[in-house]
């Protein structure tokens, strides 16, 4: 399908834009007065957006009956993981400059960092088990392991929620989006049980 191949490439290209923009703005000195914070927020937000899009693939496939959409799922999931890696690297290298003592203290003392790290480890385990070889090797267990994506999406939204000081409009929107995505699945599970 030509249209589909095109869409796939367009989505891939669009997903790389936030990273490309950061590089471009770094070269023009436009990363705001607080570049480290701006990079952290941009990579974190993009990771979350891509994670949500990953969870949108299956509902979209069921609604449209376009089964090939499933091919987008792994790509989007890995892109989310890519941004999570950038986000984490920003924290380790730019924010703390390898001050491991302070970072470990932060992971223990700050619930929002604890959840960020939890989310990252969940995405890491999903990424390493996303290869064709792993899918084969894990067999039926693969699907069980990959249900962890739901947990990752929840911890990511709570992580964002706990970052915010007072303006909860954005995290609230993400919580709502996640509820809708979960709602679809619960509805189908319920339909399946009834038949």
């Amino acid at each position: 399908m030509r249209l589909f191949a095109f869409a796939r490439r367009a989505i891939f290209g669009a997903a790389l834009l936030p990273a490309a923009s950061l590089i471009y703005w770094a070269s023009t000195g436009d990363l705001t007065a607080n570049p480290i914070d701006f990079i952290t927020d941009t990579t974190g937000t993009t990771a979350l957006v891509l994670l949500m899009l990953t969870l949108t693939v299956t509902p979209l496939r069921r609604v449209t009956g376009q089964n090939q959409l499933i091919k987008l799922r792994r790509m989007l999931g890995l892109l989310a993981f890519f941004y999570a890696c950038l986000h984490l690297s920003t924290w380790v290298v730019l924010d703390w400059f390898f001050d491991f003592e302070s970072m470990i203290a932060d992971v223990i003392d700050r619930p929002f960092i604890t959840l960020g790290m939890t989310t990252f480890l969940l995405l890491l385990s999903l990424a390493v088990t996303s290869t064709a070889g792993m899918i084969r090797r894990l067999g039926r267990r693969w699907q069980q392991v990959h249900r962890l994506v739901y947990l990752a999406a929840m911890t990511a939204v709570i992580h964002f929620w706990w970052v915010v000081k007072a303006d909860f409009r954005e995290p609230r929107l993400w919580a709502l989006a996640l509820s809708v995505l979960f709602g679809f699945r619960l509805w189908w599970a319920y339909q399946l049980r009834r038949t």
């Binding site: 030509r2 191949a5 095109f6 490439r9 367009a10 891939f12 290209g13 669009a14 790389l16 834009l17 936030p18 923009s21 703005w25 436009d30 990363l31 705001t32 007065a33 607080n34 480290i36 914070d37 730019l94 924010d95 703390w96 400059f97 302070s102 203290a105 932060d106 003392d109 700050r110 619930p111 929002f112 706990w162 000081k165 007072a166 303006d167 909860f168 409009r169």
Partner: protein
């Protein structure tokens, strides 16, 4: 092979298959790039380059209270602001504060004071000589900058206003007007913004009412036309665009302490040993610097202000 060519097409018009495939790929990539560019545009512009007021303030004295540390740039000081009345993003104030009309500003003074009165801004400030005060500003979000404020000592203003002996606190209030301050349409915190100081804190020589920075009239996004600057406390104590000053015998209900009493207290002195529940206050990032630096007790003004808090438990009175 030429035999299978349809007769109405000349050979020169046939695109070789390899080239045809490459062209398809090219068109796809170009189209993807176009969509990408649109997405980039939607992603939003970058840092707004902030504008100042451009009006110079004459006859400004230097002050021995000024730090000699390196100043943050005018762009940093006027482009990176927490001023939720104009939006919660750091560049919202620089973008939206032009809506604020500061020309006919008045300040209402009431409560436990000799003569309650509404002053024109000029009349309010005129009796005092302007001083430049170069202070460190430490935000509760663990970043900091160095700002060359211009203002008048708050203590001098208070003495002139003659509070009654029963006045224990000073309460300040920001303008409430959602047409000028569009951020107030969203109830992220309780509007109008209210701040307060204990009387002895307000009388401390480091506390000023600022009307300018970097030699010029205060830009709107920095709290024009008149704001408080209390350099030993977290930035949010230094209330902006003040329209009312009230003397009172009860501790004022300050905006952030009302919004989230577990995270923000009345005193909010810069204190590296008392963490915000969600992040550490031990270090800070000075804007423009790469490595974090250690946060100083009372933002480095402990020598001057520590005695205000002698005998107080600063863990409980955060």
């Amino acid at each position: 092979m030429l035999i299978r060519r349809p007769p109405d097409i000349r050979y020169s018009e046939v695109t070789p298959k390899a080239l045809y495939l490459r062209r398809r790929e090219f068109i796809q990539t170009a189209a993807a790039a176009t969509i990408g560019a649109a997405a980039l545009a939607a992603w939003g512009g970058t840092a707004a380059h902030a504008q100042g007021s451009g009006r110079k303030l004459p006859n400004v004295r230097k002050s021995p209270f000024s730090t000699t540390e390196k100043l943050n740039s005018f762009d940093d000081v006027t482009g990176y602001n927490n001023f939720y009345e104009f939006g919660t993003e750091k560049d919202d104030p620089a973008r939206n504060a032009h809506r604020l009309a500061t020309s006919k500003w008045t300040v209402r003074v009431d409560g436990l004071v000799k003569t309650p009165k509404t002053y024109d801004l000029d009349e309010f400030i005129k009796p005092h000589a302007l001083e430049e005060r170069i202070y460190r500003l430490r935000c509760v979000e663990a970043w900091s900058m160095v700002v060359p404020w211009i203002g008048v000592p708050l203590a001098d203003v208070i003495k002139r206003l003659e509070p009654q002996p029963g006045a224990k606190f000073v309460e300040f209030t920001t303008l409430l007007d959602m047409r000028q301050m569009p951020g107030q349409r969203v109830p992220v915190i309780e509007w109008p913004y209210v701040e307060g100081l204990r009387m002895d804190e307000a009388m401390h020589p480091l506390a000023i009412l600022a009307v300018g920075l970097y030699g010029e009239v205060l830009p709107n996004q920095n709290g024009a036309p008149i704001r408080l600057v209390v350099p030993w406390k977290y930035g949010f104590k230094s209330i902006k665009s003040i329209v009312r000053i009230r003397f009172t015998d009860a501790q004022p209900r300050t905006a952030w302490a009302v919004s989230n009493p577990r995270e923000y207290g009345f005193y909010s002195n810069v204190n590296p040993t008392v963490d915000h529940p969600r992040w550490s206050q031990a270090t800070e990032r000075r804007l423009g610097e790469f490595r974090r630096r250690k946060t100083e007790m009372f933002n480095g003004y402990g020598g001057q202000v520590a005695q205000l808090y002698a005998g107080m438990d600063l863990r409980r009175n955060y």
